[in-house]
Symmetry: C2
């Protein structure tokens, strides 16, 4: 290690990893730890700009993770930066909420058909935990139906890891299979008169699995079961929210929830989560106690208003879908031409890319690493994210790199 470090950016990825290994358990935690990306990927980043990110070694990539979802307008979008700057010049974290809390709630209520009201938090886990608490408060019941394998956050009741979690944290969960009406009905029956909520992801986006859009019959069955039993239908729109439909992702299937949770893209990277709900749950929402030290801060809410305004102005879901289709079509054409069976599934704006017969994703890792070396940051198992900065020119530049990656992969296969 150099004895003089002029600033944190003076240290490259390897040096930072060595320092991190001493003061951060395992070198990093959670979904942005290096263990979650292919070996050879950078751990540390120092900048973002439109569709590009820059790592601690100064390498620049076309970014298909968008900070794992939060970036939807592109990194450092001027309207968002300006909103944050303005709030920081006034004071962001105060003794009460700023007027932006009202402005943002009004924006969501105007934009989302089922929304009669909104409340704000910080993490997606906060939003989903609040939905569950609210459903229980509003129904006086306890059971919550969750699709097996679905990700709803990283707190004990829903974390994908059971380490440090007790059985009782999950005793009131009942699992069903996404898009499987019979399995859903069975879970509803099992809950009996204690059914508080049915949780559904915007679409099936379980890690390492082909993605599935919600089938209409499944969505309608979930809605009907809630109508029949008085339970809350809760859409987890934390990951997908604002990329597929600005009225909420289940508008695409024509089914409206009672409660929905959002986070990630809502403020283009500023820390914010939200829930929206119907009149029926307003009273419960006014009585539960949910809060956090920074939940009232003005800058993320002003950033969210700026983000949503821009998304509406350009009809973002349409633009993102077009960009995603261009990328997907290019990738699948390249894969076929080079003789690699590749499935790109899910909504084009949030594709997951899985090679067939690649259960350990070894081929996926090798491909992603080749793409990385050519300046494109992809993921081998998790869904990726497009932003409005992914213009046709950017997609085409990315496809030039992936063409090179497939060629390298084909070479190493024959070697």
């Amino acid at each position: 290690m150099p004895s003089v470090v002029e600033g944190p950016e003076a240290m490259g990825d390897a040096g930072l990893r060595a320092r991190a290994a001493r003061v951060i358990p395992g070198g990093m935690w959670g979904h942005q730890r290096a263990a979650a990306v292919p070996r050879g990927y950078p751990q540390f980043f120092v900048g973002g700009d439109g569709a590009f990110v820059q790592d601690a070694d100064g390498r620049r990539y076309i970014d298909f993770m968008c900070a794992w979802g939060p970036i939807i307008l592109g990194h450092r979008h001027p309207a968002v930066s300006e909103a944050v700057r303005r709030e920081m010049e006034r004071g962001d974290c105060l003794d009460g909420p700023t007027p932006h809390a009202v402005e943002l709630a009004e924006t969501l209520v105007a934009m989302i058909p089922h929304a009669d009201w909104a409340m704000f938090q910080k993490n997606g886990s906060d939003a989903m935990t609040t939905c569950v608490t609210l459903a229980r408060a509003g129904t006086g019941r306890r059971k919550v139906l969750v699709a097996r394998g679905a990700y709803h956050g990283a707190v004990p009741w829903c974390s994908p890891s059971l380490l440090g979690v007790t059985a009782e944290d999950r005793v009131h969960l009942i699992h069903y299979r996404y898009n499987d009406v019979a399995s859903l009905e069975e879970a509803v029956a099992q809950a009996g008169d204690d059914l508080a909520a049915i949780l559904v992801s915007a679409f099936r986006h379980d890690i390492g699995q082909p993605q599935e859009l919600p089938a209409y019959a499944f969505a309608a069955a979930a809605r009907a079961a809630c109508d029949r039993t008085g339970a809350a239908l809760v859409v987890d729109d934390v990951r997908a929210g604002f990329r597929l439909d600005l009225g909420g992702s289940w508008e695409r299937v024509g089914v409206r929830p009672d409660l929905a949770g959002y986070s990630k893209a809502i403020a283009n990277g500023q820390p914010l989560a939200a829930i929206t709900g119907t009149e029926r749950f307003r009273d419960a929402a006014s009585r539960v106690f949910v809060t956090g030290s920074f939940w009232y801060a003005g800058a993320p809410m002003a950033a969210a208003v700026a983000t949503l305004t821009e998304l509406m102005r350009v009809d973002a879901p349409r633009v993102l879908e077009a960009a995603g289709l261009r990328f997907r079509d290019g990738l699948t054409e390249q894969a076929a031409r080079h003789g690699f069976p590749l499935d790109v599934t899910g909504p084009p704006a949030m594709p997951v890319m899985l090679f067939r017969d690649d259960p350990e994703a070894a081929l996926g890792e090798a491909f992603c690493l080749e793409a990385l070396h050519r300046g494109v940051y992809l993921h081998h198992r998790h869904n990726m994210f497009l932003s409005l900065a992914h213009t046709p020119e950017v997609i085409d530049a990315a496809l030039e790199a992936t063409e090179g990656a497939f060629r390298a992969l084909a070479r190493s296969r024959t070697a």
Copy 2:
């Protein structure tokens, strides 16, 4: 309501409340809702500056809540604003952590004697939930001892409200009385060989109650019980952290925890939480899965480094204690002179102010409202917070206002 609103700030508190009542359940949620402050207090704020906050009606107050804890250097401290601005100009929310994650972990490890490592989150609730998860992961046990009435967050396992919470969310909690060794020992015995952790607040700061510093015998007993049983001693330093002792609040009583949680003041208002721990829990910390969409963002971590650097430079706890003593001594002298029995308890930098024989805090509310009208924002039941911007001149100006408030109270008593 006016038909033309030029911006959110064009609307005063009353108008904003009317708008909020339509789109936010109960008009606002959590600890910053108007129900948590005296009737007549403003709900909405638009700015902060040093020791001052400004409400949506343009009134300016000397701020003794400091955003309910986060502000410790004063609102809009230039070193913090500059750190945030710099990060925003590079890109804040990226595909991985920035070098500031390492820099901040190194800063905490150097500053906090028990800390061998650190991890970062967003909410105080995240920090405390992570400590509990970690203690369970590290010990393979389930029971967690919590002081009755202590606040550790607003998620189901610890929320002060039971609405929407199930019995199982708390089935592994065992309660004891803060500063009561016998009660602690009884709880330890009850947990038997299933004791994962003893949670202790930095000091007793239950709302509406006189505050109590930890007694040495109690702190030593908690430490000894953990040493004897292998459980984790966890200090909840979310509220008090960095105001009382930069090495962790229990340094003052000479007892070191195995794990500690921080948030609030760590980044002078930027959204961040942290946990620190000893070598013994490093492995468990590297294996639990805890994460959030914005937990890796650079700006709050850069803000934290700037905040902690400044706190160390000026020896903040000493300065804050002096400011707090000046305020406490002034208040108690005024109260006595005007014939009001007032108890100002707890550490001077985080005082709670309770009138005796005022169980509903009606007198407290009346006093706070009189002070508010004279430009000082106090709280009638919750502990208050001082910042480094509370200079002797600011304290003296506040005391001039409270003198007027006591005089008005005395007048209305004799009227």
